[in-house]
């Protein structure tokens, strides 16, 4: 595996999960999301990604990413608009294809369609879809979605309208079934890996090998989504986000203690501290040299708009130039 082999130039983005502690504040989170997206566009980020949450799980306030992006597309001109991710088993596949096609046209071809299987039991129960069958349903919905987007016949002579054949080339998957993702020619979204799972480097190596077998003429698309929380120094940032991180970890580890905060941060793939400390830590992450896109999440559950905007500025002004000079030359 050689550096930059078969990948595109490294680009940078921003991921918003619309964390909103009280559902009554949803409106203000949509407003904040818009101003952060505009800031991201003005500071040259290539892509603004948004996450989907149903029923305000994990305090995420955005159940309808494509509808929000249709609105946001009217307030921006150049930044690409991504979903990271849409929980595909819970979407009627053909309706999703229609919405994605309309959004891609409304936004002048700026949509990047990221998909995932989902894991939240409560959400699946509400939709009446068995969590255990999400893998099978995901594959089924993805096949229908891809066919429709590619302009193939759905039934009789009916095809998706409006037609957007380019969109079939802009699908991303957050999945550990690396082989399937490469086989389908889709981009790979890598979220932080738990310590007991295969490392990113291994996943990327497998993906690139499969990719070269299948898609020799096209560049592979690999995106990292990681939390980047810049501030005065590690200790200060830990006091800013400590309670949010513990709250998150306690969903899976109820006895989680503040004494182990740094371990939790590392396991969750968070880069935190002074921008120089973050750059130093990122320079040691060898997987970064093989990716084509890096998207930073700068908010935790209770981050205020000003703080998010400040962190986004540190990310774009200080961290990106340094990371780009380390890993960016394609």
């Amino acid at each position: 595996m050689t550096k930059n082999n078969g990948r595109k130039k490294l680009t940078f983005g921003f991921l918003n999960r619309f964390y909103t502690p009280s559902a009554n504040d949803n409106r203000s989170s949509y407003h904040t999301g818009l101003s952060l997206l505009k800031q991201a566009e003005q500071t040259g980020l290539s892509t603004g990604w948004v996450a989907q949450h149903h029923f305000h799980t994990e305090t995420g306030a955005l159940p309808s990413p494509l509808l929000w992006l249709a609105h946001a597309a009217q307030h921006t001109r150049t930044i690409r608009l991504g979903t990271a991710i849409i929980i595909l088993p819970l979407e009627p596949a053909l309706r999703l294809a229609e919405d994605a096609a309309v959004l891609d046209i409304l936004s002048n071809g700026r949509l990047e369609l990221g998909l995932g299987k989902g894991f939240d039991r409560e959400s699946f129960e509400h939709f009446g879809i068995p969590l255990e069958e999400r893998g099978r349903i995901y594959d089924d919905h993805l096949a229908k979605l891809s066919n429709a987007l590619a302009g193939k016949r759905i039934t009789d002579d009916l095809v998706l309208s409006p037609p957007t054949p380019e969109l079939a080339q802009k699908i991303w998957e957050s999945s550990r079934n690396i082989h399937d993702v490469a086989l389908r020619g889709n981009g790979l979204i890598l979220a932080p890996q738990p310590p007991d799972k295969p490392s990113h480097s291994l996943l990327i190596e497998q993906y690139l090998n499969f990719w070269r077998d299948q898609n020799s003429q096209k560049a592979a698309r690999i995106a990292f989504m990681r939390a980047i929380i810049p501030g005065a120094d590690k200790k200060t940032v830990e006091s800013e986000i400590g309670s949010d991180i513990l709250r998150y970890v306690r969903r899976f580890v109820p006895e989680a203690s503040a004494n182990n905060l740094q371990t939790y941060l590392k396991n969750a793939g968070v880069f935190w501290g002074h921008p120089d400390e973050i750059i130093e830590d990122m320079s040691k992450d060898t997987a970064l040299q093989y990716i084509s896109h890096f998207a930073a999440q700068v908010q935790t559950f209770s981050t205020h708009e000003d703080q998010a905007s400040h962190r986004l500025r540190l990310y774009t002004e200080q961290i990106i130039p340094a990371v780009n000079s380390l890993f960016g030359e394609a």
């Binding site: 309706r95 919405d99 096609a101 309309v102 939709f127 009789d156 009916l158 095809v159 998706l160 309208s161």
Partner: protein, 324 residues
């Protein structure tokens, strides 16, 4: 003679240009209508229309429009409910209601005119009425059981489109609005009985019934000019009327216009024909005009909306929001 009513317009988002231009023009149409004082704009849903339908996702289009408007209500006319997941629909409508500061109106139908699309969506056409009812209740539950004001609000913004007295009665029993005016339904023999069933079944003393009536209105210098302008776009409707067994043999443009109840001609012509329409201002709370045929340009459409708002609707007692 007439009571105050709201004025709206409905568009099918016909593909008069490249999709991107069509969407851009759609936004222009809403902005212009809002300036003219229109209270609502309704977007129809058309699925998989063999490459010609550009409106499979009215809520997404309305979301883009919400970024450019402040007052006009953003409505679907209608959403084909059997093809939707009620939870996802409730989520989308809620987000749009939040983004637009509660301007959403949600029109629902069973998709009877979309017969060819049912297999693609894995829905049995014969069961569409039952499926519609089940999904309507599910959707209403989503709104009623929510603690969010932007969601609860939608419970009073539902409209149903029906062609049977049972459907009209259901809309009244559920406290929902009723939309009438599908071109194939004769105003005197079909629409009027539906309107009366709806109003007679309405029981809620605290809320008023909402009756939206849709009419094609084509202002031109005179009737003949309007007919000439409409002729090429109406030809396919002649075949359609024959298929629906509403006409047979050679059918002239004037006959098609008559069957489809298109009010056309000069301001005086239209005013007089609207007065004679047997199912209109005596019943409606919302007068919803369709001003585009397939080849209408955006400028044609805006001009027609202007003539209706300035010279026709006021005759029947309508007051523009800006003149309040």
């Amino acid at each position: 003679m007439t009571h105050p009513f709201k004025l709206g317009f409905l568009t099918h988002v016909s593909a008069d240009a490249e999709p991107q231009t069509t969407y851009h023009n759609l936004i222009k149409l809403f902005v212009a209508a809002e300036k003219l004082g229109y209270g609502s704009g309704w977007i129809a849903q058309h699925h998989l229309s063999r490459g010609t339908g550009l409106s499979p996702s009215p809520l997404l289009l309305l979301s883009a429009i919400s970024a450019h408007t402040e007052h006009i209500h953003l409505a679907t006319g209608i959403t084909v409910l059997p093809f939707e997941d009620p939870i996802r629909l409730a989520e989308d409508a809620t987000l749009l209601n939040s983004l637009s500061k509660k301007r959403v109106q949600l029109g629902l139908g069973s998709g009877g005119a979309n017969v060819v699309s049912f297999p693609a969506f894995d829905v049995e056409y014969e069961k569409r009425a039952t499926i519609f009812n089940d999904k309507l209740y599910a959707l209403q539950n989503e709104f009623e059981n929510s603690t969010l004001s932007d969601t609860q609000d939608l419970r009073k913004k539902l409209w149903q489109s029906h062609s049977t007295p049972e459907g009209a009665a259901l809309a009244a029993q559920q406290g929902n609005g009723l939309l009438l005016g599908t071109a194939v339904h004769n105003p005197a023999t079909v629409q009027k009985p539906l309107a009366e069933t709806y109003l007679n079944t309405w029981k809620d003393a605290l809320e008023k019934p909402r009756l939206g009536i849709i009419r094609a209105v084509f202002p031109a210098s005179d009737r003949k000019t309007a007919q000439q302008e409409l002729a090429p776009d109406l030809r396919p409707f002649g075949d359609w009327l024959k298929r629906e067994k509403l006409a047979d043999g050679d059918i002239s443009t004037a006959e098609i216009i008559n069957k489809l109840n298109v009010h056309h001609g000069s301001v005086e012509d239209i005013t007089s024909s609207l007065q004679k329409d047997p199912c209109l201002f005596d019943y409606l709370t919302d007068f919803i005009v369709v001003v585009q045929s397939a080849s209408s340009t955006i400028d044609d459409a805006i001009k027609r909306l202007e003539i209706i708002a300035k010279h026709i609707a006021p005759t029947f007692g309508w007051k523009s929001r800006s003149s309040d």
